[in-house]
């Protein structure tokens, strides 16, 4: 039996207006059969500041339309009028939970186009921050997932664990949320004395909590009731909807950029791609939990393998006058939500001609979410959004 047939409320679409090829349906609101309900933007169950315009029939969603733009600041425009180096404080604001991926991708774009080298240790430190970013991203996500279905206890623990990682970030980079640590040529600062021990201590504590979360959250009758079979992603949609990251891996698509397109120092690390079958909310949650545990292991590996000595950044030309010859490049990396990509076009001046950010939520949060919302119980909307791990600023930038 496939999970698809396992929908708890296997909604009969024939009752409702048919969804046309463009994803919309003609709904006659004046028939009083349906009500409109805005899920957001002022809503505790929404991921970030966005909105989903739901049309309900009873408890069931007939149509969901994603509304974004509440966080639009026009990054791609602003970057065009700032010098390359000046954009580093800007890019990290695109994705608040994991700014490091923006920094990494943008720095790598510049390095690709200018040929700046990154020293060995700088690369290791980059890998370390990227993995730490993944770890804290997943921790926050677990907190959000638990919160979305009303399990505050686990949310509290997970957010505490995330704060531990943030403390280490603060120590390493000097910033709590926005690190601005990765710069062209390496990273900004060397690893502080005794960092490894403190990190290890934190990792132990996090592991302790993870054991409890495993027991309390993933072996939980109610959570399983709520999530198994809900929010199913058909493997056939993976390419149609540009599904990446854990959402795609949970559908059995063995694709992890860290492994398939090794960047930074991932080629030297020992890990396997986590995959699962039948991407429903529970599977996705559990897959993310497994990845989180692997991240803990990876951080340990990185700290072990990192050379003690060495430059953290290479000598660069004057960053204030950096000009990049005409050219374009695309750089991708694997953040917690999947493929994070930067497309940079340079035109030979001191300013980028265009930077385009491809956040994984762009496809997850609009086309896919709108598809998946149909026939979902209104109670599941919040957890469905969290389980897709959408993050609105990536969509509108």
């Amino acid at each position: 039996m496939s999970k698809k047939e396992f929908f708890p409320m296997d909604g009969d679409r024939t009752k409702y207006p048919e969804i046309k090829s463009d994803g919309t349906a003609d709904i006659d609101l004046s028939s009083h059969k349906y009500i409109k309900l805005w899920h957001g933007p002022n809503h505790p169950g929404i991921t970030g500041n966005m909105a989903v315009e739901l049309t309900l029939c009873g408890d069931e969603v007939v149509e969901g339309i994603t509304h974004v733009g509440y966080l639009h600041r026009g990054f791609e425009k602003l970057m065009e009028r700032r010098k390359y180096i000046q954009n580093f404080p800007l890019v990290c604001r695109i994705a608040v939970p994991e700014p490091d991926y923006n920094e990494y991708n943008y720095a790598t774009c510049i390095e690709n186009l200018t040929g700046i080298d990154v020293p060995e240790k700088g690369m290791w430190l980059r890998t370390l921050t990227l993995e730490m970013a993944r770890l804290q991203g997943f921790l926050m996500w677990i907190g959000g997932m638990a919160g979305a279905i009303g399990f505050g206890t686990v949310g509290q623990w997970a957010n505490y664990c995330r704060d531990l990682v943030l403390d280490r970030f603060e120590e390493l980079t000097g910033g709590r949320i926005y690190h601005i640590y990765i710069l062209p040529g390496g990273v900004r600062n060397d690893i502080p004395e005794g960092f490894k021990d403190r990190m290890e201590k934190n990792l132990r504590e996090i592991e302790g909590f993870m054991k409890d979360i495993r027991r309390a959250f993933f072996d939980n009758y109610v959570f399983k009731k709520r999530s198994v079979g809900v929010g199913y992603i058909d493997p056939a949609w993976v390419f149609d909807y540009g599904i990446v990251g854990p959402n795609a891996r949970a559908a059995g698509f063995k694709h992890d950029i860290r492994k398939n397109y090794p960047y930074a120092k991932y080629a030297e690390l020992d890990f396997e791609i986590t995959t699962a079958k039948d991407s429903d909310i529970y599977t996705r949650a559990f897959l993310r939990f497994e990845e989180l545990l692997k991240d803990i292991d990876l951080i340990r590996q990185i700290l072990d393998k990192m050379p003690e000595k060495g430059d953290h950044i290479s000598k660069v030309s004057n960053m204030m006058n950096l000009k990049i010859p005409a050219g374009e490049t695309y750089v991708r990396s694997e953040c917690t939500r999947g493929e994070y990509g930067y497309y940079l076009v340079a035109d030979g001046s001191e300013y980028p001609r265009r930077v385009n950010v491809r956040g994984p939520s762009y496809t997850h949060g609009v086309a896919l979410l709108e598809k998946m919302l149909v026939n979902v119980n209104i109670a599941d909307v919040a957890q469905l959004m969290v389980s897709l791990h959408t993050y609105p600023p990536e969509i509108e930038r």
Binding site: G69, N260, E328
Partner: protein, 176 residues
Amino acid sequence: MLENIISELEKQFQLEAVDHNSSDLVFLTIDRDHAVMAIDLLKWKFGYKHFVLLTAVDFLEEGKFQLTYILNNPDTKTDIGVRVRIDREDANMVSAHHLWPTVATYQRELKEMFGIDFPGSPRLNDPFILEGWEGTPPYRRDFDTKAFAASFYHQREGRTTNDPATYMKEKLYPNE
């Protein structure tokens, strides 16, 4: 590997420019009318089934928009960037939403932010990011965001700055 694909493509289309970025990323330029056909071919024949992104670049000086479709083949782990140059005036492009449903979202954004039309694309004219925007689409290069922000929004007054060289001239050798 990529060379074979390009030579295959060259047989059918006129490739205006081919730039090898690295061993697994190549950008090629195809004319407006054949681009979507080439993408279609890349998707179904060469396995470039993962649609990475679609975006536009404004080459104001040349009066052109460049549309870039980046396609990824997850099996061979290679990327192809298909570039299309279209006129800035009356900018429009063949829609590719039939190949991937998500493309419609990108096209909606381009319509809103660049004013590029994709006839036939679903919900193209629905507001996506902006609300009540009038005038030049903001991502066009002839739209000056700083000047707009300065005139449209209230800024906090009372800031003045000095250029060190000019200031020193005023202070040290004002008459020279």
